[in-house]
């Protein structure tokens, strides 16, 4: 029964040149079947040219309730953006 099957996360590459993007998850007994199930579940309308599957338990994720403190270090570094710098308006290609 699928209750015992591990959860897999599915990543689909829509076309050559684009990165694999997370599409969703599914249950499957092993990697081979996870890949086939992912094809049937997430690319029925040819949404992809390549699929990755990875056991959900092998993914380590940051925690939503730590979001503020976790990402805080970048919060006050507005100078990492080009728009921070004042240059004369009539200079091209900057």
């Amino acid at each position: 029964m699928s209750d015992n099957w591990p959860l897999w996360e599915v990543f689909v590459r829509a076309k050559r040149g684009l990165a694999h993007v997370h599409a969703g998850s599914l249950h499957a007994p092993d990697a081979e079947l996870a890949l086939r199930n992912a094809r049937d579940l997430y690319t029925r309308r040819q949404e992809g040219v390549s699929i990755w599957v990875i056991r959900s338990q092998d993914i380590t994720a940051s925690s939503p309730d730590e979001r503020d403190s976790f990402f805080d270090p970048a919060g006050d570094k507005v100078y990492r953006h080009a728009s921070f710098y004042e240059v004369p308006e009539d200079v091209e290609y900057l």
Binding site: G17, Y79, R80, A82, F84
Partner: protein
């Protein structure tokens, strides 16, 4: 972000028929301007060229931290210091994106670092020049990063997917680098006479090495023997010739220099109405080759510093491994 594709490279087999089939498949993709992805079969030459180029690019990013890192403790204000640290952090990040892209081709990054440390693989010769004054930090952002962007924007359309995706991210981040450099010089150019002279001196020293960053000419006496431009363009790794990119850079930069009130150190620099481009003087390619082969002002210092940083970081890597092993052992018990 790229991820290795997992499994055996598809061109592991080595029969002639197989090689022909690989070539046909590969040529079909390139002909249709499609991207090559890690699990695609590809000619060995294509794979080798990409590994060499991406590795050299990655090495340049991390060696490039040094000339600017020199000024972190001496930046003239807290604002400038924070900016410079952010920029040097970006260079480290760019190096890591690129090592990651190289690893999708089946090499290990430890092996690439070894080759950098032993001198078997190169980095951009621009980083073998010293940063003598604060204005050099401005000149590097404006000229060196400006030239790098000119080189890198077409690489966002490179035929190898993971490299192209890394470059998209790098280019987005580089635009701040160029602007902050211009801003430093813009500030100095409106400052005291000494500050203006400092900006001019930096432009004098960085202009020619920046033009050399595009590499030797594609044709003529100074062209590199056995140059790869033609092959790399056929493979979609390169989209423009070195000379085309260099000309674009000159055309973009001269008006910016005028705005800064800086005189670029080239008596032959003049607008050519007929060509619709700026003409510029002859580049000293002997200097380029000399510096590339190890005889620049800072080659030894850069590599020695890089090796020392790597060796002195060994205990951190070991400690991290020991910690991970202990955590794993604890989990097994629990």
């Amino acid at each position: 972000m790229y991820g290795n594709d997992f499994g055996e490279p598809l061109n592991a087999a080595e029969t002639a028929d197989y090689a022909d089939a690989v070539q046909e498949y590969f040529d079909g993709l390139i002909g249709a301007d499609q991207r090559i992805e890690p699990r695609d079969a590809m000619p060995d030459g294509y794979r080798r060229t990409l590994i060499r180029q991406i590795a050299q690019h990655a090495h340049s990013e991390i060696i490039g931290m040094q000339p600017e890192g020199n000024w972190i403790t001496r930046a003239p204000s807290l604002r400038r210091k924070a900016i410079l640290m952010a920029k040097v952090q970006d260079e480290a990040g760019h190096g890591l994106y690129l090592y990651s892209a190289a690893e999708t081709l089946g090499v290990d990054r430890a092996e690439l670092l070894d080759k950098l440390h032993s001198g078997q693989q190169k980095y951009s010769s621009i980083f073998n020049y010293p940063t003598l004054t604060w204005a050099d930090v401005g000149a590097i952002g404006w000229l060196v990063d400006g030239a790098a962007i000119m080189n890198q924007v077409p690489l966002c359309r490179c035929s190898y997917g993971p490299y192209a995706r890394a470059m998209i991210r790098v280019c987005k981040e580089e635009s701040f680098h160029q602007r902050q450099g211009f801003e430093i010089l813009w500030t100095l150019s409106r400052g005291t006479e000494e500050q203006q002279a400092m900006a001019q001196d930096a432009a004098d020293r960085w202009w020619w090495p920046s033009l050399m960053m595009f590499g030797p000419p594609d044709t003529g006496d100074a062209a590199a023997p056995g140059g790869h431009t033609e092959q790399n363009m056929a493979w979609g790794i390169k989209r423009f010739t070195n000379d085309d990119l260099r000309q674009k850079f000159v055309d973009m930069t001269v008006p910016q220099a005028q705005k800064l009130g800086l005189v670029l150190p080239d008596p032959d620099l003049r607008w050519n109405d007929e060509r619709g481009h700026w003409d510029f003087g002859a580049i000293d390619w002997d200097e380029f080759w000399r510096v590339l082969k190890g005889d620049g002002p800072c080659n030894e210092q850069r590599l020695a510093h890089r090796r020392r940083a790597h060796d002195e970081g060994a205990w951190v890597r070991e400690a991290a491994n020991a910690h991970a092993a202990r955590q794993a052992a604890r989990q097994e018990v629990a």
